[in-house]
Structures are given as C-alpha cells and as structure tokens.
Symmetry: D2
Subunit: 264 residues, 4 copies
C-alpha cells in the first residue's frame, strides 16, 4: 500500500500533528517540527466528532486547505478524519489518507461510501469493539472496492480510570497474524495523558506495529481539544529519539509475534 | 526487597514454572530447564483456585514439599499461591514468596493474615479491578505489618475474545509512578495462548516491568491446567534469548516511563 | 409529542412488528395482528445495519412502500430505521417516526441532519453508552431544530452471556427524572431470546416506561434476522394481555419513580 | 428451604436493616420498624468488607450479639455477612442465614467451609460475574454438603455512572429457569441511591424474585456506611405499601417468566 513514496506496512511510519487544525501558524509550526523529527504524515482534524453540540466543530473546508498547504510546505502526506458521507468527496480531494474515527467504526453507510473514495482509509477500532468487529468493518470497505485499509488500535474502554482507554497491546500481533492489513497504534488516545504516550509508543514498536498516530501541539495547554494527551514539539522529538534503538532491533516489516519464536 | 540474593525491584527477575505442580518429574525437569535459561524463581501451584468443584484442586502439602525439593536441586527460589487463611502458615513454611491470585485480591481476611506471614507477597490484580483497587489491597497487607508487596498485572476482563484477558500495558508505568512497589507482569494469563506470551513479555520489558511470571510446562498439551497458555521449555529458552537486547536497552531499575522523557 | 392521534409520553404506546420488512404478506399479517392486540405503531426495518457485508441489507425503498401500505390497511403509524444521511428524506417521506439504531447513536452527522427532518426521532442508546452519552446525542437533534426526541433503552453490553444485552431497568426512572423526553423500552434486543421478552416488558411497565418497541414475526424461525428474539403473533397477544393489570396500576403518564415515594 | 417458619422460595420474603450494626439503639429501632412494615428477616453487618484498611470494620462479635438480641425482641430472623473462614463458626452461632458478599463469591476456601456450617447461605453475585459463575460458586457450597443456597442479584459493574451498579433484572427469570434455588434481589446495592430503590424493588417483584434484601437506617445521613442507598424507616414503609398490589398480582411461588406466557 503506497501513499506517495511511503510504503505503508513495509516501513515504520509515524503520523503526527494536532488533534484539531486551529490556525495556519499552529499547523505549519507543528508540521515542520514533526517532519524534522522523522514523521512522514501530518495528522490534523478539520471535521471534529462533536460529542457536544456546544464544542468546537473544526474549521471544515478551511482546515482541509490548511492541511494541503502544510503538505506543500513540508512534503508530509496528510491524514484527516471524515465523519459524514456528504464530506467524503471534499476530504478525498485534500487528504492522502481518510481517517475513520472510533465512533464511526460501525457507520456502515460511511464505510460503504469509502469503498469508492480512491484513497487509503485508516479505520480506528471502536471503543468497545472486538478485533473481529474491527475486521468486519474493514471488510466492508474492501468489499465495496477499496483494498487499502489501515487498521488502528487506539485503546478500548475498561473500568480502569488512570488512563483514558486501555491500550490493547496484544491487538497488534493478533491482527498481524489473522490479517495482511497494516496496523497502526494511536498511543495518544490510548493513554489520555501525555506522559504515558512515549512508553506506549515503545510497546507498540516492539510488538510489531507498522506505525504510530500521535497528537502533537506547540502549546498543548492552549489546544482547543485533547491538550492533555498532546506531546509538545520537544517531547515528540525525544520520543522519536527514544524509539530508534527499538526500531533498530526490528527487522522492518516482519511481525514481532513471529520473531519472538512464537509461531515456529 | 530481597528474596535470598535476589533484589526484587532492582534487577529484572523472571519467575517461571508450571501452572500446577503435577509430579516430581514434571516439576524438577521444568525447574532445571528454566533455571538454565535464566529464571531465578520457580512458580507452581500446590493449592489451585477451583472454579469448579469437579476440577483438579492441586497436590496441597505434597505439592509444597515438591517445590521445596526443586529449590534444593536447582537453587531457584519458590513462589506459590495461597488461597485460604488456614493455609498461610503451611505455605509460608515452604515458599519464599506468597502469591495471591486475582480472585483473592479483595479477600481482605486473607490479606490481613498475610500482613504477618513473614514472606514477601505477590498480589495479582483482580479481573476487573482498577489500579486504585489493586493499590488499596496492597495497602491492606502493608498496614498489617508486611511492607514487602509485589504488584502483578495479569490482564483485565474486556469484551475482546482473541485473548483470555487484555494486558493493560500502561498499568506498569502508572504503578511505577504512583507507588514504590515492584511491578511484575504475567503475560501467560494476559494472553491465554502461548503464541502471544513472548511478544507481551517484550512489551513488559520496554515499559519498565521489574520482572515476569510465566507458565512453562515440559508438555503443555498434557498439562492438567492452563496448557494452552504454557510455553514449552524450548519456547521459554527462545523467549529469554529474545528479551536480552531489550533488557540491554534498559538502565535496570529505572522506570521506562521516566526514561522516555515523559516525566522530566 | 403527537404522532397523529397518539400522544407519546402521555399514554403507554406499543410499537411492534418484524425486525426486517421481508414481504407484503409477512408485513400485513403482522400489522393486522399487532394492531388487534393493541399496538399503535408498526415497526419494521427497510434499511438494515449490515454488520457483515454479506448479510441481508433490507428491501430499501421497496420496504418503505410496504410499510406505507401497511399503514393504510391498519391505521397503525410507522417507525423505521434510518442509517444514512442520504436516506433521511426518503425515510421521512414514508415513516411517522425515524429510528436511530444503537450503532448510530454517535453518528453526529446523521443526528444533525435529523434535526431538520420534520419527524419525531426515536434514539436508541448505544451498546456501551452511558445515559449521559444518550442525552448528549439527543441534545444534538434538539439543538439542530427538532425537539421531538424519544429515548430508547435497549440493553447494554456486559460480560453476561445468558442474555444478548443487559436491560438497564434503572435507566427508565433515571431518564424520566433528569429529562422530559419520553422513554421507550426495547425488550427484544435487551433479552435476545423471546422467552424473556414478556417479563422484561412487565418490568418496563412498572418502572414507568412510556412504551415498548417489540419484535414480532408470524414465523420467527423463518425470519431473516433476529428470529430468536421475535415473539410469535400469539405470544405478542399473550404479552399484551399480561401487561394489562400492571398498566392498570399506573397512573398513566406519572413516573413510577415518583409514585414509589422516592422523590417526595 | 425453611428458616424457622419462613419458607424461602415459597413466599415473598423481605430482609431489611442497616448496612452495618452500629449500636443497640440503631439496630432495635430499625428492627421494630421493618418488622411492623412486613419484613421477616433482619439484615445487618457485624463484619464489614473493609475495602480500605482505614474504614469502619464492623463491631464483630459485639455486633452478632446485638443481632441476636434484636431477634429476641422482634421475632425477626437474622442474616449477616461472613468474610473469613475463621469467623464461620461464630457467625453460624448467632445468625439464621449466612451472607456471602459479592467480593467473596469466588473465595472458594470460604464457600467450601460454608458447606458444613449448618445454616442456609445467601450468595451474592460478584460484581462482574456471569450467572454461570454464580451458579458454579453455589454448586461449591452444595457439593460440600449444604443444599440451602439462596442466590442474590445485586447489580453488576457497567460503564453507567448514574447508578452504583446495573441491576440485571433479567437475571431473576434466567436463574429461576435454570436452577431451583430461590433468588433474592438487593435493590440497594444495585441502585446506590435511595430514590431508585423502591422502583427497582417493584421490578424485582414483577419478574418473579423470591424476596428482597434492603438497606434501611433510621438516619441514613448519619450511617457509617452506605447511607446514600439506605431508605429511611418511612420510605421503607412506603415501599412495602407500594409493592402490595404488585405482589397481589403474583401467584406466589410461580415464576413470572412462566406466567408471562413465555415458557408454555
């Protein structure tokens, strides 16, 4: 699966950026910084899941244009969420990868529509979805014409309250074993607090994840959303440096599950 | 916290052995093999949680004596589960570490009794317990006179069915941050299938766990319990070898959470 | 809130019919029977949540037309599910009440669109949604212009396997206390097995529910979906008769919670 | 199953009293009042599950003696919790029914010991136990010599926060169908707030429960534990009066599940 010159599933790919696109300045500053630290894809929400009708709903088309501009400036590819069937064409025009959020994992009308969007789709696991549920939703997109689906583990809902969700680290080797689709980990939503993001990212690397989706913000305390779980630019740099020796231990593209001597 | 010459919390310690002590031959063969692969402590159940009145209930006192004999033969220390207040003295006579199972985490009468047992206690997290619940139960033991409590993450119950439990990998850095107690990971009960055990063990290493508790059996297919999640002797060897480079990346005793640049 | 001559929230209203509209004969036979037993509204799916791309997806527009025909024949009003933003206009043309399924409770794009659909909306609680989540989704519809929202408790996901979901019977008095919206109970999806439907319906009546949404099929064993939880026509008759004395004990429209002496 | 002249399972039995025995005055005042309102059995904790080592741990033996005295004064039978194997004999000396709390449902050592205690045992469902788990624990007591087990549904842990637990109302007809053991409902722990207790009690009655276990306190706001979910004496009177017409609709001892036309 290729996104420009990036071979997703064959190399470890980091997608990073703010939860929401807030302004040109915020976005470009973040994009330049994460690109320099080794990210290949810029994330940023233009259409936000509005769990309350009173909360920030994203910049919409304006946000998409800013993402496009950031791509020109930095060379990063762009991933952004689509929530409405009616926005699929607009998002596909500006984004390189279409993101489906956890709340939309069983929005079958949207999944069906994404079967013909002409872009790879990153599909997040629903908050209490089993891996079988996730794969069934992926199958919906594939059966409707689009084989380029990227699975994303982002933590599941449990009774634990120390973290926003519980990162199901075993999901990575399980999915890699039963499916050929790439598996990306979102440690930001799994953790819910930024201090835990780098260590969960490490775990993702050593169990064989194909990449990360990470929230980064120049000033997390001023972010309009998800500030508590966003890394600063400096913390993202440190995390990328921390991951290097673990990545060096991997034979890229090979499943950690197998290398651990498990399967043979 | 010292168990003989082992400094738990200061060095990475692997506890390995069969789910249940079945026979002298099975136990000694396993003990010799895991010792040679680098384990320091032998696990093995003499008193088994009998979730059905018809299932195997362990060898009891006979099992304790076999564990003691295996200790003499191999130099390994011994950990085994205690489930009844009435068995505390007997288990303390033969074991070096007392294990409290997930089902007993809120057996406050037992915890209170373990406060004066004179042995370190490994306390497993209950199946749907929060980390706060776990720490409160630990506090029970400490307040009753025994400061030597080892916490154990062994997976929690979720709606996922691909694994027996969901390994809460974030539990390790969270517990290491809010408590000074050592944190051990049991990847066997978390996974429920042996193929996943080594890769979960890797994750435990890189997030800062102080050790592992692993089920190993010479012939897992003939085990009286937990055979599906028990490693063969060869798989345990392979797992220990696989973990080496990851352990080499750790500054032993330092919390991964901190080294990831999170806290500073 | 009025649907024709039915005052939802002021009288106890039963909505009944097949999970899916399968044929004119199946639908009309069911509609005549449930009308004669006292149901006021006919339920039936024309667009089905297709959790697998290979399963039955409903008759679509043809199904809507059959529902409309059944309304003419029986005088029953019609409720049916809408899953796609693109189907809102079509469904609103044929249905009297728009149903939002559990999987769509957080499909905010759909909820927003339903704010201007001109029809009352029955909003089902998501499988692991809290009541606060449900009310927030309801607020989305209201804020977008449509005050006529009916809440529906249909059971939540738990570890229990004897039933398909766990009917949260307390949800009814809680919702009636904190909101002025009518609350309907779907005992069919809560139970998952038909034998439990009548007894859960009783519980719904005595805790103050404003009505029921029940699956009924002339030949449940031949139903294309949800046959195990569908009542036969005779069982529905028996259930309606069974509920009568419990309904007689209610001061209609008054909250059971209050009459139990709780609030005063 | 008889407790004195009470035929548990054949008549509807209400067990009521304070969470904890606090003083003679509190206990006798409560006992006289609930007896006059129709309760047959007095509940009250002498040994409390001490989820924190710093919280009130009950009056112990002194509490048992007060319960015994209240029995003499009122003619009520007595139920109280036992948490330690070492307390079984003492509790059996003073109590008519031994209560096993939710946290002890899988304390197999305790269950085994209760097999020979010579008293009926009320076994509470664990917080996330399935009904199959509950029945397996009951089987433990039965297999160890004691056929007199009373099952108790007291709500299970879910993600809902409006109530302390989620009352699994379907548990009653399911248990009554697959087992011959009596089923009691504890609406107090299910609800967690007193205003919901009477309406959940109603639901318990109409689905066929064999009785209730209810927390009542003369001054709930001054209770040492569970005050929020304890009814006042007046509220308990009102609840008992409210239940009368629902009880009159039952053919006592017959399963609501069956009468709803489900089984036939």
């Amino acid at each position: 699966m290729r996104v420009g010159d990036i071979a997703i599933g064959a190399e470890f790919v980091v997608m990073a950026g703010p939860c929401a696109v807030e302004s040109e300045r915020q976005l470009i500053e973040t994009a330049l910084s994460v690109a320099s630290a080794g990210a290949r894809i810029l994330r940023g929400g233009a259409y936000k899941p509005r769990s309350s009708p009173y909360s920030f709903q994203g910049l919409g088309l304006e946000g998409l244009k800013l993402l496009s501009k950031a791509r020109e400036v930095t060379g990063l590819k762009v991933i952004t969420e689509v929530m409405s069937e009616l926005d699929v064409d607009a998002v596909a025009e500006y984004a390189d990868i279409m993101q489906v959020g956890a709340r939309s994992m069983e929005n079958f009308a949207l999944l069906e529509r994404l079967g013909s969007c002409g872009r790879p789709v990153l599909l997040k696991r629903g908050m209490t979805a089993t891996l079988e549920d996730l794969l069934r939703s992926a199958q919906f997109i594939v059966e409707n014409g689009n084989p380029d689906v990227i699975l994303c583990e982002r933590g599941i809902r449990t009774f634990e309250t120390a973290t926003r969700n519980t990162f199901d680290v075993a999901a990575v080797p399980v999915l890699k074993t039963v499916s050929h689709l790439p598996v990306i980990v979102d440690p930001s939503h799994a953790a819910g607090v930024r201090l835990l993001v780098p260590v969960l990212a490490r775990a993702a690397v050593v169990v064989g994840a194909d990449g990360l989706l990470v929230e980064v913000h120049p000033q997390p305390d001023k972010a309009v959303s998800d500030g508590e779980q966003s890394l600063t630019l400096e913390q993202f740099d440190a995390m990328m440096a921390d991951l290097e020796p673990y990545l060096a231990l991997r034979t890229i593209g090979e499943c950690a599950y197998a290398t651990a001597g498990g399967i043979a």
